[in-house]
């Protein structure tokens, strides 16, 4: 790990220095890290010049985890300790894992705890920890290559990831010690990479078939704004499934019995993947396979393969149709179709998409790298390196959010494809006389029945005053932030009893667990942790002080009285003093105090900025239209 940098006391680091920010594509099969260098987005290679990092982690009894190509080479020899496609397990419950069944040749543990843990030579690992190991490898690669500590990262997630899967991804970043500037949808990142330079206008579709997930997003582009109109997909459908369909066919051809061992299963899926890839360039592929004592030549042509994957491809086209309908646009209105993800190299996939949209497809940027490249462009803007940029990415939630009501039904509070951030409130009431508590069960999904939706969290609102059934009024508020993460708050209106939770998925990691893992993590000795806490608080303090200084220069004279300015400046001085010390808790409370002191100013600035945005035209136009 790179050493943490601390500025000399009293001297804040140069705020005008270019910030080091990266975009990370944490993929099912491969991961990448990219950054903007000399105005151009580039993926960063490892020491051997390889840009992709196989998303494979091998755990050994001794030493740290092995990540990438070296781990990938051991998948057949050491299947239980070599974890691949961990993205498919992120934010998943035990029941989901059981549905995947034999496809995952791992040893699962603690299945009663709701979240799947994997047993490895290095102990029990959660999918979040495994993903964190991949992120750490990419972070190290970036820091070595850029020569400094990263300010933050934009991490991409499938547009169709639900709250639990997004939260798990963010937790993995926290565990790896990465500051997440934004969780960005993969199709949106791809659209950004296509530049679809700032002059581009119109509706585009992004078809993203990755290793384990499928997304379709419909976006409207206007003057640098990328507005997601609708998104759809399947977070459990990808290239892996194409491989599996072919592997099952191979089993039939070989005439071997079902119930092959883990190593054999791995071998066959690897062979299937290689045959699939060869079929992209060759019309017919022949392979010699040896499994369970049987050795046989197998021959397959493109049409046969096309039949095997026909249903899977058809599923993606149905999702395209629904996304267009949700967006309220017709096929003819779509100007460009951007193809993303390695699986879009499969000729049958391309044909089907082209046929559906009736237009040529955009494939000029490497479909494996396009997501990371776009994420890096966004990271550069978010880190503050491009203050004049007009680029803005407006996202939606992919799946409706709701609550369980009587009868095991789901009441939707926020429908799918609602623009985020969003806040929605609804009032509920009690079912029985004298009811003093209410169980709040938060769900995500489109179906009407609780059992068919994903359970995100359960909590209880207690202390409701006893009243007749239907008399109490409980307001439940859902807030979804720009990353697509949910916060839920419940409040009894007559008594003011309040209960709020950050939705932690039922099978996610708790904050306590994350803290513990951070402490246990091999790269964070106790001293490191203290140092890191201090550094984080200092960065927060600097950020607040710097933005307030700027704000005072810009708007201070116009929006604050002399007396208000003096109060604020005194509060800033106070924070500067504690910031020079080494007590991270003191700095933390100093930051909070200054935030409270400057709240009114920040509010006035926002209002002023709304006025400015609308100024010059609104008054006249209102008059005209009257």
């Amino acid at each position: 790990m790179a050493l943490l940098q601390i500025a000399e006391p009293g001297q804040s680091p140069d705020p005008h220095k270019r910030k080091l920010a990266v975009g990370i594509d944490l993929g099912t099969t491969n991961s990448l890290v990219a950054t903007v260098r000399s105005g151009e987005s580039v993926t960063l290679p490892d020491e051997q010049g390889r840009h992709t990092l196989p998303s494979v982690v091998r755990y050994l009894a001794e030493g740290g985890p092995v990540v990438g190509y070296d781990a990938h080479a051991q998948t057949v020899a050491d299947p239980f300790n070599t974890i691949q496609s961990v993205k498919r397990l992120m934010g998943r419950g035990v029941t989901d894992i059981k549905k995947l069944g034999d496809e995952l040749p791992y040893r699962f543990e603690r299945l009663d705890e709701g979240m799947p843990y994997l047993s490895t030579a290095a102990g029990v690992k959660s999918p979040v920890e495994i993903s964190a190991d991949i992120l750490r490898t990419l972070q190290r690669r970036a820091e070595d290559s850029l020569g400094g500590e990263l300010t933050g990262a934009v991490i991409t997630v499938p547009a169709y990831f639900d709250d639990a899967q997004r939260q798990a991804t963010k937790d993995a970043a926290t565990l790896a010690g990465l500051k997440v500037l934004r969780l960005l949808s993969e199709p949106t990142a791809a659209a950004v990479a296509y530049g679809l330079d700032e002059a581009a206008e119109g509706v585009i579709a992004v078809y993203d078939l990755g290793g384990g997930t499928f997304d379709i997003s419909i976006l409207r582009l206007s003057k640098g704004v990328f507005e997601v109109m609708a998104t759809g997909g399947d977070s459990a459908l990808g290239g892996d499934d194409l491989d599996l369909a072919l592997a099952n066919w191979l089993v039939g051809q070989l005439g071997v019995a079902r119930g092959l061992g883990s190593a054999d299963a791995r071998y066959l899926t690897e062979q299937a993947r290689s045959i699939k890839e060869r079929l992209t360039d060759e019309p017919v592929v022949e392979a010699l396979l040896a499994v369970a004592g049987v050795e046989k030549h197998v021959c397959i042509d493109r049409d046969q393969f096309g039949e095997l994957i026909h249903d899977l491809v058809a599923r993606t086209i149905r999702a395209c149709r629904r996304a267009l309908k949700d967006a309220g646009v017709s096929v003819a209105q779509v100007q460009d179709i951007v193809m993303v993800g390695g699986s879009t190299r499969v000729p049958q996939v391309r044909e089907a998409v082209q046929q559906f949209f009736g237009k040529a497809l955009r494939t000029d940027i490497d479909p494996d790298r396009v997501v990371a490249l776009g994420a890096a462009l966004q990271a550069d803007v978010l880190a503050g390196n491009k203050p004049d940029s007009d680029m803005l990415l407006l996202d939606v939630i992919p799946l409706s959010l709701g609550l369980e009501i009587m009868g095991g039904l789901v009441e939707k509070l926020v429908p799918r494809n609602t623009a985020i951030p969003v806040a929605k409130a609804q009032e509920f009431t009690t079912y029985q006389d004298g009811q003093t508590a209410m169980a709040i069960h938060v769900l995500q999904g489109e179906r009407e029945l609780v059992d068919d939706c994903r359970s995100l969290a359960r909590f209880e609102l207690r202390g409701i005053p006893a009243m007749a059934a239907g008399a109490a009024k409980i307001r439940v508020t859902f807030q979804v932030d720009a990353d697509g993460l949910l916060n839920v708050e419940a409040k009894e209106l007559s008594s003011g009893v309040e209960s709020r939770i950050q939705v932690k998925p039922s099978y996610g990691l708790s904050d306590v667990e994350i803290e513990r893992m951070l402490k246990e993590s091999y790269s964070f000795a106790q001293d490191d942790l203290v140092l890191r806490n201090l550094r984080e608080q200092q960065v927060d303090a600097d950020r607040l002080l710097h933005s307030l200084e700027q704000a005072l220069i810009e708007d201070g004279p116009a929006l604050l009285t002399q007396a208000e300015r003096e109060v604020l400046q005194a509060a800033m001085m106070q924070l500067q003093e504690v910031r020079a010390g080494s007590d991270h808790r003191a700095i933390e409370s100093g930051v909070k105090a200054l935030a409270v002191a400057s709240d009114e100013f920040a509010s006035r600035r926002m209002d002023a900025s709304i006025q400015r945005a609308l100024q010059g035209h609104n008054i006249d136009e209102i008059e005209e239209s009257r």
């Binding site: 206007s222 999702a319 209102i622």
Partner: protein, 177 residues
């Protein structure tokens, strides 16, 4: 956060049903560029929190003004009539009969020889019934009289029925996918 303005004021638009949707969308993007949390990603937590609140209000306003039914409901709400949350209001019996017929058609749709086109056709019929109601609402709401306001509310209640039907059509379509 202190947002006293209603959505029309917030967007600098006149308080009417027939708003310029192009202008709304243009204003929305201008405001998003100023207020979205991504504009504050490198700034303090406080500014980000505030911007998230403003943007949430902005998004709600945009969604409300963009959709004709929500816009109509909102205009009534500004006049003190909440058709969305009222428990029951007397409805025109002819209209109710028509609704029952449409619902029967909806129930039979999955057994139809071609359920997808049947649902699409039904959806189109319902959409066509919306247009005259919108026109009715639009003309009544502009007249500053009690009777006209109630006529406008009656039109919105009918629109609500049709909208609910359309959402059920959509749900059946989703099931087909």
């Amino acid at each position: 956060m202190d947002i006293k303005q209603n959505f029309f004021e917030f967007y600098g638009l006149p308080e009417v049903f027939d708003i310029d949707l192009g202008l709304l969308s243009q204003r929305h993007l201008e405001l998003q560029k100023k207020l979205h949390p991504d504009r504050f990603a490198h700034l303090s937590d406080q500014e980000r929190r505030l911007s998230a609140q403003y943007t949430a209000y902005l998004n709600e306003g945009y969604a409300t003004l963009r959709a004709s039914l929500l816009r109509a409901q909102y205009l009534l709400k500004l006049q003190g009539i909440d058709t969305h949350n009222e428990s029951s209001a007397p409805m025109d019996p002819v209209f109710l009969m028509q609704q029952m017929e449409l619902r029967e058609r909806l129930e039979d749709a999955p057994q139809h020889a071609d359920p997808e086109s049947e649902l699409a056709a039904l959806d189109k019929d319902v959409e066509q019934m919306m247009a005259p109601l919108q026109a009715e609402f639009c003309s009544q709401i502009t007249i500053p009289a009690e009777a006209s306001l109630h006529a406008a509310a009656a039109a919105v209640r009918k629109m609500q029925f049709l909208d609910k039907l359309r959402r059920e059509i959509e749900r059946l379509e989703d099931d087909l996918y």
